[in-house]
Symmetry: C2
Subunit: 531 residues, 2 copies
Amino acid sequence: MRSLRKTVLLAILVSVVLVLALLHSWPTRTYTTVDVWQRPGPSVERHLEERLPELDHRLSNIPFHVRDSVASLLARNGCICEGESGGVNLPFAQLLFPRVSAHPLHTAFEASELEEMKRRRAKEYKSFQKRSKTPADVLIIAEANSPLQYPTQGVEVRPLKTIIIPGLALHDLPRDHYSINITATLGTLNVAAEVDGVKIKGDGEMHMSLSSSLLPNLNRQLQFVTYTNTLFHPSTADTVQFETEGHQAVFSVKIRHGVTPKLYNTGSKGDYNVSALVTIATKTFLRYDKLQDLIDSVRRYYPTVTIVIADDSENPKTMSGPYIEHYIMPFGKGWFAGRNLAVSQVTTKYVLWVDDDFIFTANTKLEKLVDVLEKTTLDLVGGAVREATGYTATYRQTISIEPGEEDGDCLHMRRGFHHVIQGFPNCVVTDGVINFFLARTDKVQQVGFDPRLARVAHLEFFIDGLGSLHVGSCDDVIVNHATKIRLPWVSQSESDKTYAKFRYPPASSDATHTKNGLLFFKNRFQCLTRN
Amino acid sequence: MRSLRKTVLLAILVSVVLVLALLHSWPTRTYTTVDVWQRPGPSVERHLEERLPELDHRLSNIPFHVRDSVASLLARNGCICEGESGGVNLPFAQLLFPRVSAHPLHTAFEASELEEMKRRRAKEYKSFQKRSKTPADVLIIAEANSPLQYPTQGVEVRPLKTIIIPGLALHDLPRDHYSINITATLGTLNVAAEVDGVKIKGDGEMHMSLSSSLLPNLNRQLQFVTYTNTLFHPSTADTVQFETEGHQAVFSVKIRHGVTPKLYNTGSKGDYNVSALVTIATKTFLRYDKLQDLIDSVRRYYPTVTIVIADDSENPKTMSGPYIEHYIMPFGKGWFAGRNLAVSQVTTKYVLWVDDDFIFTANTKLEKLVDVLEKTTLDLVGGAVREATGYTATYRQTISIEPGEEDGDCLHMRRGFHHVIQGFPNCVVTDGVINFFLARTDKVQQVGFDPRLARVAHLEFFIDGLGSLHVGSCDDVIVNHATKIRLPWVSQSESDKTYAKFRYPPASSDATHTKNGLLFFKNRFQCLTRN
């Protein structure tokens, strides 16, 4: 019995040892930690700025004469909130000679809350800057007379993947020994192939050296240098240093996923199939009669196009019918909330925005607008809206932002456009248009209509779209506007009165949700000028 | 009388002449036309590719030995749709040793429609490429031993504005005469100041020359060279050529508006005010009992946080209560349509996504998730969902795209994460998480939930977010999942049966609106591999 017990104990002991050995050798993936805290930029950025050429200072005693016509076009330090002064003060002066007016935006806030708002805005802006700055935007100056050849633009790697760095070479004067160093910060360097006569040190690390007594061999080796991203980030850039004795070059390797396309099915081939390509979107509030007129007019020309309706009326009616999608919102939730809702539901390539009091006519040829977006790089194209009087408006606006300092930027809006579009003589390129437009669904959804804007708002969408949307406007596609003229002998209906109360409201309680409060806080503007 | 008539005629003649003169001199703004058609890239791009150094070919006779460990990491030409073969075929093998499976995506389509789908997809993709390519991504190699000094990165101008081009200089050997040329294509060149002894030609045009016999004077003049964008585009780059005899350099000037911030008010200072910072969003369908359980559980811990509910049930019940926003959709409109609707209505800095059958507990500390997003550059952080069994899931997924050729790209999804987050030991960086997450509202709205996905879908949101969203996951913030286990003795309610019919549906009629059809068409994938 005793020997049996001993054997059993021994067997148990051996098993335990084996299990421990197995656990020990089990391949574990080591996950390095990553620092994603919102901190100031890496030291490389500061290092670069110190390296701006010394030559600048040696030339400072050579005199120059300022050319005002050009120098006045350069951005100033900060922006000033001013309009145009003077001008003729006649009754119709503003119509004939629209003057530029300037609106300081801090006035959206009570004096008592302004300091707190500025403090919060500055804090949010600082975080935003840390999240949106990338090393790929830092100024880099290429040194003259450097024997180094290297790529200055266009080097990209997908996160955690490997590429060959193109274009590296050394064109040095003859010498006994040639060597280069290459250093990265978010990845490692290596070689995809080895060339005889070249000594490699630090391959697989963040700092690699190559040296040889034969320059052609070193250059052949340089054709096989690889970069592997090891510190994960979905969209950033690594600043790579490439050096030889006495010379240093710096370039960026962009680290990002490619741009994934978001394509839409277009329906049968041949002519433009408007029902397959376009969804009509609108928002309604207490105006079912006008809404029904709109729908009836659309159906005369486009019987099967889908119409999406966002509705925040108090006692919503059921709107039904083929190709009608009706969405009910909390009462009075708001104008831009409704617009954002409607476009969020669109599944076709294009979305046509209409107001609920528009009327389609024989001049409302959507195929023309589709043609513009199919053939150009525009993302959105506005049409024209005809009032009962016959007056037709396209409401074209150009928008620009002048950078400011701590007080914020200045927003400038002017009536007009930039250029006529080649091949479409009735169409122009601009930045903002009237509320009748066809647009790429994915671009409109990406920009969005800020649901914080509950009541009056229009150009805020185009301000949010600056830089993302390529905007056009054509004056030969026209929709009618059901009359807004209040005839004195026609009494206002109850719903008309409630509508007016919401449409033209008194000041809101939450100042950052008003138009000017939002421009001040959300977009960090200090001033708006317009004509 | 005759002389009077003469005077009148003379007066009329003079007036006519004056009016004509006035009209003639009326300042008219000349609008140049702009070509925004979808055409192949400018000739400069092809020109650059031809200029890749000749040296490459002279070295081709120097032999090399491939280093497989590195060369195998490089992208292949096209991607192959294959999973892992072999492996143990035991009952729980997939759980313990998850094998990678590969899914060709063209199978979403009937054989009869596949060719047409491929044709349409290729056409849409071609347009997409023309719209998204920018000269700022083209490969540029800096020439070695060039006397030219110039900026290689970081030069930006707002559309139609003017900047000084920084860092231009000539470091030539002594000679009698020095000259440089500078050429742009989307703007004009000029000087902000004039320096004695320098001859300027072509200032104000697209091609400008500067020459001098004094090198310091030429370099001083080069400090004042300006670029003015004249051809409007909201987001592009001009490729500028800078030359002197025997040498040429090329660099990009980015033409774009700055990134306009989209900041949110955060409520009173001090500790995290969850009601001011967070809105809870969910979608419901035929499960009002579960939805009410969710709401009740939320209210125990967060009595005033706003809950947005998108509801596409057949006979929607009225959901009311303080801080409840209930949206009614067309019946069965769909899962991602509902998600897109709900997030489109959020007005706070963060949005918390929950499914309608979650239950908040004392472990559901939203403040922890807010802390992560406030302190890091993450855009979204997932939590953990605990089943009735006690099993808690974070569903972390890494996602990468391998570029393919005409057939499309390959999408690779693997369980796991990239790194642990410094300072947050319970949190990691990954690409996809479970359906319980806190995120920046502006980023989620920008990515969106594609309303074409009517039924089952989850990671499609993270695929669409690749490159935009910096995603994290923490396992110490836990929400409970109301049980899904169907106990055999409990009969299924009517609404449960209808729910099951929609939740686990047969194949859809529109193939591009199925999960695989959408990956194939919209995102241009040919293959999905996952484990």
